[in-house]
Amino acid sequence: MKGTPGGTVTVRVRFFARYAELAGRAEGTLTVPLPATVSDVVDRARHEWPGASALPPEPLAAVNLRHVRLDASVSDGDEVALLPPLAGG
């Protein structure tokens, strides 16, 4: 399923660690026009939530629990996560 009849996709956006502090939120919902990439979601987030404008130009991202590149496409209902530099281990 690639979107609603109106030609948009609605995704859940999640912020973690330092990015959650910058964005002032841990999550939110965004709707973007089709065809949409992760990059489009990030751009939309910057405008929607003022703090998110401080995110770096090309943050790490995951869609539905998997790492993706910013040019990966997103579908309606996807969970898009923006990840600060990883520091596990």
Binding site: F16, A17, R18, E21, L65, A87, G88
Partner: protein, 145 residues
């Protein structure tokens, strides 16, 4: 959440998970919170995670490693929440028929973990400051807590 825990990591149960009659070599890696002379008085690290993804990613790393080293038995635990200095944040155990594979597969798991796990750490210092750790080398102060 099979691979994540907020409890202290224990070695013997992890070892028991990988022990098998056909495995003669076991390599265990522990990553511990450091407070050396150059670390500036770190009292602990607060680990946070995109937990569902971190758990899934760990499972994928284990599966891929088993594929690369057939017969390898692998157990991994990552601790979350506050981990005091000198305690372990991650424990990886790998048992294989022969020792060279145990070392190689265990090393592989920790390198993949470092590159892929959506986990973050905030260093807590004795002076009350807290700093998000960016392994790429750009610490960012987040102020006294």
């Amino acid at each position: 959440m099979t691979h994540l825990t907020t409890a202290p990591l224990l070695l013997e149960p992890l070892l028991a998970e990988v022990t098998a009659p056909h495995c003669g070599g076991t390599c265990i890696f522990l990553g511990t919170v450091r407070d050396g002379p150059e670390d500036g008085g770190v009292t602990g690290i607060e680990y946070s995670a995109y937990d569902v993804m971190a758990d899934a990613e760990l499972e994928r790393i284990v599966t891929e490693t088993r594929r690369q080293w057939p017969g390898a038995r692998i157990a991994v635990r990552h601790r979350l929440g506050l981990v005091p200095a000198e305690e372990a944040s991650i424990a990886i155990a790998v048992a294989t028929p022969h020792r060279a594979d145990a070392f190689a597969a265990c090393r592989h798991v920790i390198e993949e973990v470092k590159q892929r796990l959506p986990i973050w750490k905030k260093e807590l210092r004795a002076d009350g400051t807290a700093t998000w750790v960016d392994p790429s080398g750009h610490p960012s102060m987040v102020g006294p807590q």
